[in-house]
Amino acid sequence: MLGTTWLAKLRGGLAACGLLAVAACGGAGGDDGPVTVSVWAWYPEFKGVVEAFNATHPDIKVEWTNAGTGADHYAKLKTAITAGKGAPDVAMVEFQQIPTFVILDALADMGEHGANEDEGLYAEWAWEQATDGDKVYAIPVDGGPMALMYRKDLFDQHGIPVPTTWAEYAEAAVKIKAADPNAHIASFGSDGGWLNGLMWQSGCRPYGYSHTTAKDQVKINLTAPECKRVVDLIGDLVDKGLMAKDPFFTADATAALDSGKYWTWAAAGWTPGYLAGSLKNTTGKWAVAPMPQWTAGADEQGDWGGSTFTVTKQAKNPKAATTVARELFGKSEAAWEIGLDKAFLYPLVKDVAADPAFTGKAYEFFNGQKVNEIFVPVSEKLGDFQFTPFQDFVYSELDDRSAEAMTGGRSWDSVLDEAQKNVVTYAEQQGFKVSK
């Protein structure tokens, strides 16, 4: 029942590595046998990906650990970085977290081990976020180009046109309420990443940071009109009761999506898999449309979510770790087969995303619609977008201040003003020179 790893750990902890023998313990294995590379990641169905890698790389053995999802994973990673030991060789890190780990001096530059060769392989926006100049801090894996999921059957039934602009979206919200007083156009999910994606799609570029050029300078501009119009519109819908208030991914929100309580969800490239797996009653009734635009006929796009592999500075063999980060997914067909069909990742490898097997895939959940035909152009259209080196703080400001607005504790109009003020104070307190 107890695996050998478990016993080995126990023995290793007690016997081999005394206080004085620390140095003797840290080293990678001997000359013989494959180099072991530890990986922390929480991708679904990741085991098969690791097995595929190990089968094709006789010189490297990946040891995978699921150290928790999201916040738990980062908490452990940050603790291990602070302690100076205990971090894995390769860690999964989401895009918005990359600058945070860079400024903590946690990430190795994979450019030193040839990772710059991969530049052409990935969607440009993703490569931009993963690198800083010729320093390669992360290898993109999956992304979240945004589009609008909607209940096609209900929209058709009530003759409501699918919104192509946000103004039409607001009109549709009123009509939906009229058609069914218990229904909402969507829910305000209290998710910093989602709000960020909507602002991105509005052309808002609130942050700017480059560790290489000026590590103590950061741009914060959450109050630009492109940012504020997003919050104003959504806040108005919430205040009028046209948009619900359930946090995303809770059982309540899932049930609401599956029962006709929400008619749309402005979500991302990974959502089709999420919806198909969790909604049983409404299979075949949903469809995907491009995001509503702020200006009719425009083509502004945004991203919600996505992740990368990074190599930590504690990696015993950074070169082997770089190989792992680049090739776990990378061009591996076996890995992407699992990634696309079982884990429902949206691939940031351009060739995989352009492959007819992906773009041409018809989804039963969307009544046979080839939804990736919508997501792929969005990903290609995504431009430059930067994050701060303290994005956790920014997201919790966005969450907490909009939660206050949602519950009547402040006006929606003041959400971004207050967040801007608090983020600037925090940034200055952390020693940054802040520009707008």
Binding site: G12, G13, T65, G68, G84, T254, A255, G273, L275
Partner: protein, 288 residues
């Protein structure tokens, strides 16, 4: 309910308490009943059927799936939890028993200071200690091993205090003195005379430290990263997060619920079976 309408005093005497207790039983039991009922439901029924009533009986399928998921992770977590809490409780109880006896029946330098400090020890917030403890244990390469959970759990200032109070009241000093006259060694006196006499206090401390480690979440969360070493609390939370964030690929709510049920049952059984002991031990803490 009004009193004193000329009713039979004994009936008044039991009617009000029974009413109170009836309401209490409902309040404390309903959430637990929910867990029991929910554990018998399949994932779709969990979301669709009435909360407090049975749907299709799926308990055994859930338990089967529970022990198969992630290559039998739940079984490992269960064994780990039992091992961590068992070892911690035995160790903490032994340390507390010796220290409590030492404080109750001996005089030595620094004793008063140490006793005063006991109360202060339990006021330290956990968040203040987890990180430095992590840094220290990582220096000796114990992070991400079972010892990172067990060693810090050995500390039970309250256990030491409880034992001290109990010894003070229940172990006559004359008995120890006469044993000394018989030239018994101090260790033998402790083992053969004192320990048997303070069994209720020992069971109490054992159970309380067992529960504390069994239910601990924050310490193992930070200390462990290898899922094979997780205790139940951390493992189940991982599944819950997975169920929320990757619901499309893995709907695990039924497993989280069934796993929670199996995680609480052993403790409740232990408390019920051992209640005679721990109740008199707890009484020592409350009374003397």
């Amino acid at each position: 309910m009004t009193l004193g309408r000329g009713e039979n005093p004994t009936r008044v005497k039991t009617r009000l308490p029974h009413l109170l207790m009836g309401v209490g039983i409902l309040y404390f039991l309903v959430p637990l009943l929910w867990v029991v009922v929910a554990a018998t439901k399949s994932q779709p029924d969990l979301l669709d059927s009435p909360a407090l009533w049975f749907a299709e009986f799926n308990l055994f399928e859930n338990i089967g799936q529970l022990f198969r998921e992630d290559d039998g992770a739940y079984g490992k977590w269960l064994v780990n939890t039992a091992l961590y809490s068992g070892l911690s409780a035995v160790g903490a109880t032994a340390l507390a028993a010796a220290a409590g006896y030492g404080l109750a029946r001996f005089r030595f330098p620094g004793k008063r200071l140490f006793e005063t400090a006991l109360l202060g020890m339990i006021m330290v917030p956990a968040t203040a200690l987890v990180l430095p403890t992590y840094l220290i244990l990582s220096e000796v390469e114990l992070v991400d091993t079972m010892w990172a959970v067990i060693l810090p759990s050995l500390l039970s200032p309250f256990g030491a205090y409880l034992i001290r109070v109990y010894v003070d009241e229940s172990v006559p000093v004359e008995l120890i003195d006469s044993a000394r006259i018989d030239r018994a060694g101090e260790l033998r006196i402790f083992w053969q005379i004192v320990v048997p006499m303070m069994r209720p206090a020992i069971v109490t401390v054992f159970l309380f430290t067992l529960v504390a480690t069994w239910n601990n979440y924050f310490l193992p969360l930070v200390m462990l990263s290898d899922a094979d070493l997780y205790p139940l609390t951390v493992g189940l939370t991982t599944w819950f997060n997975t169920a929320q964030q990757e619901a499309g690929t893995r709907m695990l709510f039924n497993l989280v619920v069934t796993g929670s049920l199996l995680a609480i049952v052993p403790l409740i059984v232990a408390f019920v079976l051992l209640q005679r002991f721990w109740r008199s031990g707890a009484a020592a803490g409350a009374l003397k």
